[in-house]
């Protein structure tokens, strides 16, 4: 199988599995327990926190482990809104192209009385800083803009955005969904004016069921999940120790070979885009300066569900957009927000790569795609 849906999830790296295995076997202690078995679990969790913090470029204490990217986004938005509300701030600014973890949480908060402004991107998928600033109000609690879009790979100007929002009103919290940015750029969160950021392990060859929320020290964010004293009272619940250790190992792997990793991704993307150019009537919808991991392509006249089914049978895994709504027939909200019509959205397929993808796989995939496209187009002209 040629796996080209790494934006949905990535294979767990064998080294990561090896790092996790002891915590799924003999080292099963609860990190809150005071005896030796508990203390060794605690040590493992704290070592992983340092690894994830180094990867995110922030202080170790600013990383809060969660059950994934969705929970991190949820906690960021709910906690920032609750903190803002007690200061009379009930307004949220976000964009129309966020992941559903942010969009649906915003809709949830609207049902609780929040006011939300949705900033539209430009046609190229980039959200302009001034468009976000124009929506700020004196009662804005939080601004949330994703760093890399999961359907197009578009990069957003997060650092500049955070700086300008803070200059306008230092009390507005800035959240950014870094789930797709994590493997493709140095995050350097501590060096930015961002207050909150969401990460997910399973997008960077770590395990599912673990993520992190970056919470800048001193930020007026309110914890959401309450109970035990775990995560310095910022997220209760017995820690997913093996998952956290795996996230740490995955982060450390990436930090260790950043340059080589990015060079490999760039090469994959180039190979793929060059290959696509040989297929007639193809439009690459991802911007050339976007994340090297994601290439969104329109095959004119070919319905994406038909193509994806044939690719599956031919051993190529790809998708029509965000995995968590893959089962639904809705056209991508991201493409629609960028001004494409439903027809375009229904002819668009997302291919996404990771460091474990090889150039040969890309070449084989191109050959298969070309074949399937030409057959699909032929069938259509037959009928």
């Amino acid at each position: 199988m040629i796996y080209l849906d790494n934006a949905a999830t990535t294979p767990l790296h064998p080294d990561v599995f090896r790092a996790m295995a002891p915590y799924l076997q003999e080292a099963f202690g609860n990190p809150s327990s005071l005896y030796a078995l508990g203390r060794s679990a605690r040590k493992a969790v704290e070592a992983a926190r340092a690894q994830v913090a180094a990867f995110a470029g922030c202080k170790t204490g600013d990383i809060v482990f969660t059950s994934g990217g969705t929970e991190a986004d949820h906690a960021a938005m709910v906690g920032a809104w609750l903190a803002g509300r007690s200061q009379g701030r009930n307004h949220i600014v976000t964009t129309a192209i966020e992941h559903h973890a942010v969009l649906d949480t915003c809709a949830f908060l609207e049902s609780l009385g929040a006011q939300v402004s949705y900033v539209a991107p430009q046609a190229n998928g980039v959200v302009r800083v001034e468009d976000v600033l124009a929506h700020l109000r004196p009662d804005t609690a939080v601004v949330s803009v994703m760093a890399v879009n999961n359907e197009l790979g578009t990069l957003q100007p997060i650092r500049e955005l955070a700086a300008q929002v803070k200059q306008r009103d230092p009390d507005v919290m800035v959240h950014t969904d870094c789930v797709q940015a994590a493997g493709v750029m140095p995050l350097a969160l501590g060096d930015s004016q961002v207050d909150l950021a969401a990460l997910s392990a399973h997008k960077v060859h770590g395990p599912k069921g673990v993520g992190a929320l970056y919470v800048r020290e001193g930020t007026r964010w309110r914890p959401v999940v309450h109970g035990g004293n775990q995560e310095h009272k910022r997220r209760a619940g017995t820690e997913h120790v093996a998952g956290i250790v795996g996230f740490g190992a995955a982060a450390a792997r990436l930090s260790a070979n950043w340059a080589g990793h990015l060079a490999h991704l760039d090469k994959l993307r180039d190979t793929f885009v060059r290959g696509l150019a040989e297929i007639p009537d193809v439009q690459v919808q991802s911007p050339p300066e976007g994340a090297p991991t994601i290439v969104n392509v329109r095959f004119l006249g070919v319905r994406n569900d038909r193509l994806l089914m044939r690719l599956d049978l031919a051993g190529v895994a790809a998708s029509a957009g965000s995995a968590c709504t893959a089962g639904s027939l809705e056209p991508s909200h991201v493409l629609l927000a960028c001004g494409h019509d439903r027809e375009v959205a229904q002819q668009s397929v997302r291919f996404s790569f990771s460091e474990l993808t090889t150039a040969e796989e890309i070449e084989d995939a191109i050959a298969i795609i070309a074949r399937e496209i030409s057959q699909l187009r032929q069938n259509r002209s037959d009928s």
């Binding site: 200061q87 700020l136 109000r137 009103d169």
Partner: protein, 144 residues
């Protein structure tokens, strides 16, 4: 629904470079006031001379940008003003927060905060320092 940019700059300037921040040496009037909705606090000190003029006024506090900027602007506005005039200004300011445009009194820079009236939940932030001023004057009256 934005504050005018010029107004915004005035507010940010006061927030980043607060005037009259600190405390007065000696026996000035001092009041602490808390915004119950957010827990933010301000301590205001007031020195009124024999002629009934505000000779010095200073504040300290922890609060949002609007409350701290408003405190800074308030101290600047009332310093050197007779107490009764200061109270009148306070009344006008609160009216402005209710959306009533100022008539008699020239609000000067305070006008920059007029946009806050559109955000009921933030009005407390802008009026916190003025409430503290009124409370300080009242406590002076009672002392006499």
């Amino acid at each position: 629904m934005q504050l005018d940019d010029l107004y915004r700059q005035v507010i940010m300037d006061h927030y980043q470079h607060p005037r009259n921040q600190g405390s007065i040496e000696g026996d000035a009037l001092s009041v602490d006031l808390r915004n119950p909705s957010c827990g933010d606090e301000i301590t205001l000190q007031l020195l009124v001379n024999a002629q009934g003029v505000v000779e010095d006024v200073r504040f300290r506090g922890s609060g949002c940008s609007i409350s701290m900027a408003s405190a800074s602007m308030m101290t600047e506005a009332v310093k050197g003003m007779p107490v009764d005039k200061a109270l009148e200004l306070s009344k006008e300011f609160r009216a402005m927060m209710r959306g009533v445009p100022p008539e008699e009194v020239d609000m000067g820079e305070l006008e920059a905060l007029s946009g806050v009236s559109k955000f009921p939940a933030r009005i407390k932030c802008a009026t916190l320092a003025w409430q503290a001023l009124e409370k300080a004057v009242r406590s002076e009256d009672e002392a006499e």
